[in-house]
Symmetry: C2
Subunit: 187 residues, 2 copies
DNA sequence: AGTTTCTGATACTCGGAGTATCACAATGAA
DNA sequence: TTCATTGTGATACTCCGAGTATCAGAAACT
């Protein structure tokens, strides 16, 4: 079963993928297949030959875009200041109105398509485990109990921000949020 | 400027609204206008005469559905047990797969339409302020500092659950989550 | 050389939102 | 009563985007 005729042009592959990511970033998941084709300077059929449905290309572009920027892990010497960096980075996705709009749309898309949810979930878990070096150091310093539920900690942090972003509530002050996470709400 | 000809049938109004809510609950925001009309046993035109766009009818149905069930405010005598009730109620929206699917879709819709976000935000703020009697009592008992940011507390709670629900991560144990909220993560 | 498969182009089908028009029914005004 | 006005269901449209089908030509294999 060797492939015989003309081979798929890798240039075309790249242009389509690139166009999809660009469109996803510039106007969210509502781009059309025609837009992808013309932005890639490529025939409509070539897009559909690579991606049977719009969903497929959206998933591919999303996965690419998510892997694009993975922030470095801070190491400031204390849990509190390390966490402050994390919180600030998390808030960054909602800073400008345009960025907030994209983030909203992407998380919204997760509500309509489990595959999108999976991509986001995987990407987020990846980032989180990456930043667990912070917690290891904190535990070694005695700042954190060894059996703390780190998933819970991470998800409470991100969850608050995503929730507020989604329903358009102003984001909290990073230090205040940090204090709540570390010390809780009871006296 | 008195209205002259035939008057709009209030029966038709009611049937349409009812059908919209039912469809929203049974199959999420993806119902069609034709479905509304036929479920209401009403002409297509009558639907469009009342709601110019599908967005309009979706917003109306959503607002109705959100106001439908507002849980009672617990008063068990201690902050912890009161909060446990709140947490359990919050988790309830994600208990069955079908319910989780609807909740996901609704919150997802908030990412595509600011008006949906506003409806959800308003409804949630409403419920939250309603349950602030809990915190008043807790402050009186000395269980909570008087200047605690109750929005932050509430949003961390709901945020975690919504976030996990959206990207399909198993929800936390209510008691464990409670402990994190009340005591924080540092030793 | 001949065959296979890619390529861009074009023209379709299909489904759902929204529009337009119809004959008819209900209401108010004259 | 008569007439104008507006709601009613029915039907047939337009529009747009996803997905399909077909084409002639180009590239790569035997």
């Amino acid at each position: 079963m060797k492939p015989r005729g003309r081979k798929p042009d890798p240039e075309v592959d790249a242009r389509i993928k690139q166009a999809a990511v660009t469109l996803l970033v510039s106007k969210g998941p509502s781009f059309t297949m025609d837009e992808v084709a013309s932005a890639a300077g490529v025939g409509r059929a070539s897009v559909f030959r690579r991606y049977a449905t719009k969903r497929d290309i959206l998933l591919d572009a999303l996965a690419l875009a998510m892997d694009a920027q993975v922030p470095p892990v801070p190491d400031t010497g204390a849990l509190e200041s390390d966490l402050l960096v994390i919180v600030t980075e998390t808030l960054a996705a909602w800073n400008s109105p345009e960025l907030a709009e994209r983030t909203r749309q992407i998380f919204g898309e997760a509500g309509r398509d489990p595959a999108v949810a999976e991509i986001i979930r995987t990407a987020m878990r990846d980032r989180m485990t990456r930043s667990w070096a912070i917690y290891d150091r904190a535990i070694a310093r005695g700042e954190l109990s060894a059996d703390a539920d780190l998933w819970l900690l991470s998800d409470m942090l991100v969850g608050l921000v995503v929730y507020r972003g989604l329903i358009d509530v102003p984001q909290p002050d990073a230090p205040q949020m940090l204090r709540a996470l570390m010390c809780g709400f009871t006296r």
